[in-house]
């Protein structure tokens, strides 16, 4: 397999492929390094292999950090084990584009994953690696979507699981976690408090695989599959621009990493293998989306800072409410380097974003998707998007998980069960 070792993003120190996440020399984050030169041969053959693979993320096993390949005897069998994620729809959203005066907008609907968010991608990869490393217990700090996914993967694979969440999380996300039979722990505090606690617990329980702490280098790699799918679904081409929500910044940076990796390998149409030269296609502009009530990355972007000052979150977009984003500096660097931006929108704009997406595409997203859609609208209004651009909007989660966000935004009429009552307009109007 192509996976090679763990490497510090800051000082390049190398580590073995174990449950490690921090560089002991400089405290920088560790990431997975690959040696694709030895495994990638003819590009046409590699594309055919991907296309002939299972209808889930394991079709991209060559680019994922598993020592033994997909977590089953074959890629085909892997598609039937556990909770395979991925291969979610990429939908051309002409009505949304028209509403915003844009030409070509696509919606990547990752609510169509097994537990209805993109988290199934990262958890599938982290848990597969955890099993390779011999862990029997999985755990996480979560604002909800990750909680759902870890609990469900634990159930599917027969692993014990511990899920730590802020005690004030949305009821739907608590219910959709507890149902899987996990050990659910509500912590009095913010997500950042939960995260700090889990970082400490991780040191005390080295026999646990905290998917977003000690397994984080592997977990983060799962997000690259969103980029692979978008490129494959666009016919091995890149979009011109991606709008992606930012919480920790991991998804945002890993989507760009996936596009870059495939470009360098020659999998993107028009790209030459970087090692032999050739004009590589331009990498997409990356626009990050945050809620004003928790916008450490957007604030640092606007101020021209290279690091984020942490904030205390206060927003309806709880799945994005990380006040102390781990990948903040890398997200800032990417937004600037790619010619994108990081923007923030108000809670009211988030509600409008949810409504706009629902009413132009039929996709009901959670608050995080409202943030992303509202930022797309903001960019369009500001004139940042050129007329000929192909834009991909990354929708990461399901609206049924944050129903409170749409409460009070429309009315229903109650009538008697008679034609006269319906036609007579004698109806009781109720705000829902």
């Amino acid at each position: 397999m192509a996976v090679s070792h763990l490497q510090c993003r800051e000082c390049q120190a190398e580590y073995p492929l174990e449950a490690l996440y921090v560089c002991e020399r400089c405290f920088g984050p560790l990431q997975v390094a690959y040696d694709h030169a030895s495994t990638v041969g003819d590009v046409g053959e590699l594309r055919r292999r991907i296309q002939g693979g299972p209808q889930n993320i394991w079709r991209y096993a060559d680019f994922l950090p598993l020592a033994g390949g997909p977590p089953a005897p074959s890629g085909r069998l892997a598609s039937r084990v556990g909770l395979p994620a991925g291969c979610t729809p990429l939908i051309r959203a002409d009505r949304l584009a028209a509403a915003l005066g844009l030409r070509e907008v696509w919606v990547k609907n990752d609510a169509a994953n097994p537990t209805h968010s993109f988290k199934d991608r990262v958890v599938s990869v982290a848990v597969a690696r955890a099993r390779e490393l011999g862990f029997q217990t999985i755990a996480c700090a979560s604002t909800g979507n990750l909680a759902n996914s870890v609990a469900a993967h634990g159930a599917a694979l027969g692993l014990e699981s511990y899920v730590f969440i802020p005690a004030d999380l949305e009821e739907q996300k608590v219910l959709a976690t507890g149902v899987y039979g996990t050990t659910l722990v509500g912590v009095n505090g913010s997500y950042d408090d939960v995260n700090r606690l889990c970082t400490e617990l991780c040191a005390e329980h080295s026999e646990w695989a905290f998917v977003n702490v000690n397994l984080r280098p592997y977990y983060a790699e799962g997000s690259k599959t969103l980029a692979y799918e978008i490129a494959e679904q666009l016919g091995w081409e890149l979009p011109d621009r991606c709008i992606v929500p930012i919480a920790s910044g991991s998804l945002f940076t890993k989507i760009a990493a996936g596009f870059r990796e495939w470009t360098e390998l020659g999998l993107i149409a028009g790209a030459g293998r970087s090692s032999i030269g050739g004009a590589a296609p331009r990498q997409p502009r990356m626009n990050g989306a945050q809620a004003e009530g928790c916008a450490p990355v957007a604030s640092a972007f606007a101020a021209g800072h290279e690091v984020c000052r942490p904030v205390k979150p206060n927003t309806i977009a709880k799945s994005l409410a990380i006040g102390n984003p781990a990948d903040g500096p890398y997200a800032l660097e990417l937004a600037r380097h790619s010619g994108g931006s990081v923007d923030a929108v108000s809670d009211e704009e988030i509600r409008e974003g949810i409504k706009l997406l629902a009413q132009t595409t039929g996709i009901f997203t959670e608050t995080a998707g409202g943030v992303t859609t509202a930022v797309l609208a903001k960019l369009a209004l500001r004139g940042d998007i050129d007329a000929d651009e192909r834009v991909v909007l990354v929708i990461t989660g399901e609206g049924l998980k944050t129903l409170d966000a749409v409460r009070g935004t429309f009315e229903t009429r109650t009538i008697e069960p008679t034609v006269e009552s319906f036609q007579g307009g004698v109806a009781e109007t109720t705000t829902v």
Partner: protein, 93 residues
């Protein structure tokens, strides 16, 4: 002089003689860290940049609160307080 309990993350314990925590004197976070560095010189370069500020992937908490919400390295510490050093790279959501 205040005495506080410094909790050392696993990644730094080898550089701290294997200790998981240390009792250190000091009235501010800076003084406490200096006291820690005097005892374990190797820790200084792991935690601090050349200019003496914290490395960007190091978080320090006093009684559970991130010092960036307080007065940074100048944050006062009470007698018996807990100062926790942790890597900043955890988290997803």
């Amino acid at each position: 002089m205040m005495t506080v309990l410094v909790k050392i993350p696993t990644q730094l314990r080898a550089a701290a003689g294997g200790e998981a925590e240390a009792q250190v004197d000091g009235a501010t976070v800076q003084e406490v860290l200096n006291g820690l560095f005097q005892r374990h010189a190797e820790l200084r370069a792991r935690i601090s940049d050349d200019d003496g500020s914290l490395r960007r992937f190091v978080n320090v908490y006093v009684a559970g609160e991130d010092i960036r919400f307080l007065d940074g390295l100048a944050t006062p510490v009470a007698d018996g307080a807990e100062v926790t050093i942790l890597p900043a790279v955890a988290g997803g959501r």
